[in-house]
């Protein structure tokens, strides 16, 4: 960790070198946090890693700049969003020369992160034992769907399908016979965020004890861990319920219709004081006739329908931002159910400068919720092109000459565009 930082933004992990072999969401999300922390990240991709030369369908997040462009493989907006602050190396690990070059890079790295299915690295001849032999201090984080062991290890995993297996479906939905899936691949950000914690904790351990390690972070166990409190309650005989928009320990707590089509506001009272604040507003609008300010949680629960009915009348016909503002100022938690353009335009979001336009076409990208003085979004670097830094990385990390790098291109080991 005493190497001079190169091609990295400022941050607390300056000097830490990371090899990024991740794809889709959970893995790249984790590495983005490490890169934002100032780690020197090299993204290692195969020639087909960003899809074919000709795009056959529009990506989920659209194209950066609104069109595929001359290099569509570099313009998938959802991919670009995840790939800031790193350099790009495109290398074919299925060649002997590619594997040998990669192992030399491993020798220079502090951390390697991958989220392939269980046997991919082993099948490439790059399993942990091989990597550890090259670099005993390597921190190796693998993020398979179900892990490298156990009866489900060979199963194909996507975030939404793993969510169904985590227990979350017991508590998410409209009611007893109306389960739902979030359809947001929730397991991916759970794993991604916990993976950041795992790597940084491992760096701390290595500083104290000197040794590397292999860490396994699975989508499945991330999701199950998130359900931990309910799993404990299940064993205590406390049944799980689907509360829809309600809450077991807050009344009122719900999503209420306001003016306009599909317009809503969330209102919640976390304690008696907030209820009393809401009561005053209801009373001022003559909507509190059958309600009482001194109701505690139990009484509010037994009168929940009446309270909700009063709130519905209060907010009906009002714009959601007006409702939320009035309640917030009065000390009642309230949030307009925002679409993305509304979210982006929110005064708090604007004031905090959360979306940062560092990418091509001045595209605003989600920022980092961690604000540290050593981390400066104005330094952020754009997503690298496929293989954009092949020569630079190999010279920086391995001292390869331009001729040696060109030789690797000639052998078909290095690439900077997908195969035709």
């Amino acid at each position: 960790m005493n190497k001079q930082p190169a091609a990295a933004v400022d941050g607390p992990l300056n000097g830490v070198r990371v090899l990024d072999l991740t794809h889709v969401w959970a893995g790249p999300l984790a590495v983005r946090f490490l890169a934002d922390f100032g780690a020197e990240v090299v993204r290692v991709e195969p020639p087909t890693g960003r899809g074919p030369q000709q795009a056959s369908y529009s990506p989920l997040g659209g194209w950066l700049g609104g069109a595929p462009g001359e290099r569509p493989w570099d313009n998938n907006a959802m991919f670009v969003k995840l790939m800031r602050n790193r350099r790009g190396l495109c290398i074919d690990l299925k060649t002997d020369a590619g594997r040998q070059t990669f192992l030399k890079l491993v020798g220079q790295a502090d951390v390697l992160v991958e989220n392939f299915s269980a046997h991919t690295m082993q099948n490439l001849g790059l399993g942990f034992e091989t990597l550890q032999a090259v670099n005993p201090g390597l921190i190796y984080l693998t993020m398979p769907g179900f892990g490298h062991s156990g009866p489900l290890a060979e199963r194909v995993a996507f975030g939404p399908t793993v969510e169904a297996m985590s227990g979350l479906t017991d508590v998410f939905g409209y009611g007893v016979d109306e389960p739902r899936n979030t359809a947001m691949a929730l397991m991916d950000p759970v794993s991604g965020v916990n993976a950041v914690a795992a790597v940084v904790a491992a760096l701390q351990t290595r500083r104290r004890h000197g040794s590397g390690c292999k860490l396994e972070m699975t989508l499945h166990e991330g999701g199950v861990s998130y359900c931990g409190p309910w799993l404990l309650d299940q064993q205590l005989g406390v049944p799980a319920e689907r509360w829809a928009a309600r809450h077991p320990q807050m009344v009122p707590h719900g999503t209420y219709p306001v003016a306009g089509d599909d317009q809503w506001v969330v209102i919640a009272c976390a304690d008696d004081h907030q209820w009393q604040n809401l009561f005053r507003i209801l009373a001022a609008e003559n909507l509190a006739e059958h309600l009482q300010a001194e109701w505690g949680l139990a009484a509010r629960r037994s009168h929940e329908a009446q309270i909700d009915a009063a709130i519905v009348k209060l907010v009906a016909g009002m714009p959601k931002v007006t409702v939320a503002e009035r309640l917030q100022v009065a000390g009642v938690p309230a949030g307009a159910v925002a679409t993305v353009p509304e979210m982006v335009a929110d005064p708090q979001v604007q004031a905090r400068g959360f979306f940062v336009a560092y990418e091509r076409h001045a595209t605003p990208m989600p920022g980092n919720p961690i604000k540290m003085s050593s981390m400066q979004p104005q330094q952020w670097r754009q997503c690298p092109g496929l293989g954009e830094h092949n020569a630079e990385v190999l010279e920086d990390w391995l001292g390869l000459s331009p001729e040696e790098t060109q030789d690797l291109y000639t052998q078909g080991v290095l690439h900077n565009r997908p195969p035709a």
Binding site: A197, L215, E221, L231, V349, R352, P369
Partner: protein, 341 residues
């Protein structure tokens, strides 16, 4: 490593990670517990096993403990509440503040709950059925994610010897963890809508009823042929309506009906077995009780064991584990006095 944890569920989750990293965690909980999604006993066992708890929330005591700590994770409901604890004056530790909106901005002292933050942050709009009220996400997702990031940030700062304050706003945590909603707006001008359990941009993807439960499928184009084999409906392969993902999306209602009929006569065990044979990514829905008895988790040594109300219960271990290192067996939280360190 000494970690002072001040707060509720975000700080609690950060402390949970810290305990399992081998750190000495002392916890202070200012005020009454916030509303939770599970019983107090379960929240206590899940979050606080292995910690020590100081009962007093006196500001002077908190500052004395903070100045002895290596890291402080400080969670409160508003920016001024963080300041009132003395956060800005602590010189010794690496310190993180976790609040609903952050320490700056016009909302810094406004009240919030996780549900109101999820609404503002764009999650709620896309959860639930199209023609119904949106759903709120149950559980402590936002607090736990914020806590994990707080732990990571404090640990990174400690590695660098950086003692400048770290500010995490939970609203920004929500927005940072969106898959493609924001970029789709900025790049394609499209506003994502909610469609129940249907992922919508991939067809088929939805929740289907089985004879004895439910199954969730998310069939990206690469797996279409294998999925047809799983269903044993070969006619789907030559049906012109379903030849590509775009066509499957255009005819999703008809496709959903065919799949629903195929699944309705199958059991969970049958579908699970076929998924394995055909290597199709799908999830037969597990209840919480199912999860507790999942052979995969037991075989992987995933569970910790905690004492709750005189019983020994299974509690999830960390989502990550170092190879060859067994899960810790942690004691219940112990009281600590003012001389904790």
């Amino acid at each position: 490593m000494k970690v002072l944890e001040i707060g509720h569920y975000a700080a609690g989750y950060a402390g949970r990670l810290a305990v399992r990293a081998g750190y000495d965690v002392v916890r202070i909980q200012p005020g009454a517990p916030l509303p939770a999604w599970a019983s107090a006993a379960s929240m206590q066992a899940y979050l606080h096993a292995g910690k020590r708890c100081v009962a007093s929330a006196d500001a002077a005591l908190i500052s004395r403990l903070a100045e002895q700590a290596d890291m402080v994770i400080c969670e409160a409901g508003a920016a001024d509440a963080i300041r009132a604890l003395g956060f800005e004056d602590w010189q010794q530790p690496c310190k993180v503040a976790v609040t609903p909106f952050g320490l700056t901005g016009p909302y810094q002292n406004r009240p919030a709950t996780p549900a109101t933050l999820l609404a503002l942050g764009g999650y709620t709009q896309i959860m639930g059925d199209a023609e119904r009220a949106p759903l709120s996400l149950p559980g402590h997702y936002l607090e736990f994610q914020s806590g994990a990031l707080a732990f990571a940030a404090a640990s990174a700062a400690h590695l660098a010897g950086d003692r400048s304050p770290i500010d995490i706003g939970m609203l920004e945590v929500v927005m940072a963890l969106s898959q493609f909603t924001a970029v789709r707006w900025h790049c394609a001008g499209e506003v994502r809508q909610r469609h129940g359990s249907d992922f919508w941009s991939v067809a088929p993807s939805d929740l289907f009823r089985l004879q004895d439960g439910w199954v969730y499928i998310n069939i990206v184009p690469n797996f279409w042929d294998a999925f047809v084999a799983l269903l044993e409906e070969p006619a789907l392969l030559i049906d012109e309506r379903f030849q590509t993902n775009d066509l499957r999306m255009a005819h999703r209602d008809a496709l959903r009906e065919i799949i629903a009929q195929a699944f309705a006569v199958r059991t969970r065990a049958q579908v699970d077995a076929r998924a394995e044979e055909c290597r199709v990514p799908l999830g037969v829905v597990r209840s919480l009780e199912d999860v507790l008895h999942e052979p995969h988790l037991t075989e992987r040594g995933f569970w910790e064991h905690v004492a709750v109300a005189g019983e020994t219960l299974r509690s999830p271990g960390l989502p990550y584990q170092a190879a060859g290192v067994p899960r810790p067996e942690l004691d219940a939280e112990r009281p600590a006095d003012e001389a904790a360190w």
